[in-house]
Symmetry: none
Subunit: 215 residues, 4 copies
DNA sequence: AATGAATGAGTTTTCATTCAT
DNA sequence: TATGAATGAAAACTCATTCAT
């Protein structure tokens, strides 16, 4: 009865891929909640419902697990970007779609932000050492360049805009809102985490950038 | 010779205010470098050159020390804001000065950003519990409202801009650049931490916002 | 050779039950010697010859370890009581046996007394929270009631003796002698810890109670 | 105006005797509540409302303060004993009065018991080193001897009773009840700390000893 | 592949005690 | 006499990691 183990009664036994995925999911939550230093390997294993040793077995150590999570969330963003299909759109529609997608991704994955915090504090230590991430070029800066050029030619956009900085601006206008919601809410005495506040922010961001690009 | 005590011979003996300041300075560095969870009380005391127990004597515990640092950096920003004196300026000059000051403050105090990271991750736990911070209202949102109104009246600015969100945008355009310099540099394969890159960013941010405000 | 593991070569490897027992033994000694507050977890681990972390792994914390020791010594007493078999004896023999057993148990386990000191000081904090101890009813008060009733009927004992208080008296007459031997010896200038002193005390206690029960 | 300091406005300044007394009172409470190891010098100073350094100034160290408390409570007992005036009473009245006084003292000063716990655990380390305590002989053992002899002569008491052990028994019958009230209450599931329980105990103890002394 | 036992180096915090005024 | 600052040693407890099965 060699297959007895994989019956419904004990469905999780001996499924390495599933175990690794469970660990990644748990690690993502724990790192997002507590940061790299604050995260607990014990807690990750417990959340994943597997033995702690498997963290070391599959990932090596805590840092490597953190990197694996980073690679995962970056891959998620890249996938979104690949699906945008901005190429065929008129310039203003393309930029608008990009801004909205950028905002919506952060709204949907707020943990992305806090996962990057420790990484930036440490000078991108993990990211710079990752072959996988090095291979994940974002097509967007090139895309933004093209869209800007097209828009200028069509008279939709003004000249003199640096595409890298525009990309950073688009990201930053949403990023800062999500990353600092708690302190901003406390300081302004106003709840910025509500759905209404998010809608208002989205509208503002789209509006600000689009207006800035006018000739 | 009543001032004998403060001669160079024994400069640090019996000076509680100086001891607390040294601890705050050391804590600010350590928290900025390693985050709340990653910071080591031992290291803070060592950096300050004082006995570790004094952290507990003067501040209570690690969290209270962290809050004291947060209060300090917020007070620093508020002081800068008070010195801006935007009231007398024409609307466009006022906004430009605000954007530049915002950028320059982060450029001068990059630790402010990383100090806020853990605070935001934990839902502004410390900030919300602080009486001192509650009393430190920023005058800027009101100021931005007035400037916008003036600018609209004068025909310098367009209508329909939410002052709170404009303030967040001004902050965010600089903040994200500084907070994510390491990962952005790694991803773009381009060093954004250079003086030239900062100058370019500053120019872009000012330009973007000013253009967006045009009628 | 399934028993190979327990050969002399590597006798202590991978034997969690033995590890816990070693910790309990060490803790019992340390708590008896130094009290709850005075006991050192480091010292307990060292005495047990195991890693300190295992205290936390197996017992949770110092207090829980202390409770485990209390449960152990109570269980020891209850086991002794179960073995007494007073039921079949004539009333005077039964009471005499009970007094002697009570004295002998304390003589054999003087640590029982000092282990209870901190517990009583703190209002039986641990004992009251223990399910195990709640389940360990002593059969002796009921037994003493029956014996007294029988003795009264047989004319061996006088009436009007409260069985609970008699039980407390039997315990107390021995307990106080053992618990306060050092100060009593110092105050009386007479060594009460000698074997002779114990014999004399035992005789006195038996005699006192038996005489007090005469009709 | 040399006496200005001692006006009502600042009544406590420069009153060494009062300061020492306050420290002793505070120490007695703290040692009774937490034991020698568990007591905190900080807490004692805080309870006394004086500076911590004064503990060291007046008493030397924590152990010496503990000894001072022990000397105090012993002196209290000796004072009670001196006031008993058993000499003129008939033997049975004398013994009864002794038992009752013994019980009543513990009822009034339950901290005496717990103060002695640590002392006994450590082998009466402090008591044996104290000249003061060495000088405080209790007159009671001699007194009990005389009373017993008188009682035997008068036919009130039986022969063969060791006066030292009788004294220990009288003390122990009350002591154990008070020292172990919390655990006994928990084990018996019956509150022994009530006034009614104490009355019942007192009666039982007097009765038990008096009956035991009958010829 | 998976588990629970075990470890050593740390981490925050506490505490008795001494110093300087 | 009295105070608050300062200290060093140690306390309970934690944690990433490795071992044995």
């Amino acid at each position: 009865m060699p297959q007895q183990r994989s019956t419904a009664a004990e469905p999780r036994r001996r499924d390495p891929a599933a175990t690794q995925k469970k660990l990644l999911v748990a690690a993502r939550r724990e790192f997002a909640q507590s940061g790299l230093a604050g995260a607990r390997v014990d807690e990750i294993a417990a959340r994943a419902g597997v033995n702690k040793q498997l963290v070391y077995h599959y990932f090596g150590d805590k840092d490597a697990l953190y990197l694996a999570v980073l690679e995962w969330v970056y891959e998620e963003i890249r996938a979104k970007e690949r699906e945008l299909n901005l190429a065929g759109l008129p310039p203003d529609k393309a930029i608008k779609k990009l801004i909205e997608a950028s905002f919506d991704h952060l709204a949907a994955h707020p943990d992305f932000i806090v996962l990057l915090n420790d990484e930036n504090r440490s000078g991108a230590r993990h990211v710079r050492g990752s072959r996988k991430l090095a291979a994940m070029h974002s097509p967007l800066v090139d895309m933004v360049s093209k869209i800007l050029a097209e828009g200028i030619k069509a008279g939709t956009f003004r000249k003199g805009i640096n595409p890298v900085h525009l990309y950073i601006s688009i990201a930053g206008l949403s990023y800062f809102f999500f990353s600092n919601t708690p302190t901003l809410s406390a300081i302004f005495g106003k709840d910025l985490s509500s759905a209404a506040a998010k809608r208002a922010r989205r509208k503002h961001v789209v509006d600000l950038v689009m207006q800035a690009l006018r000739p």
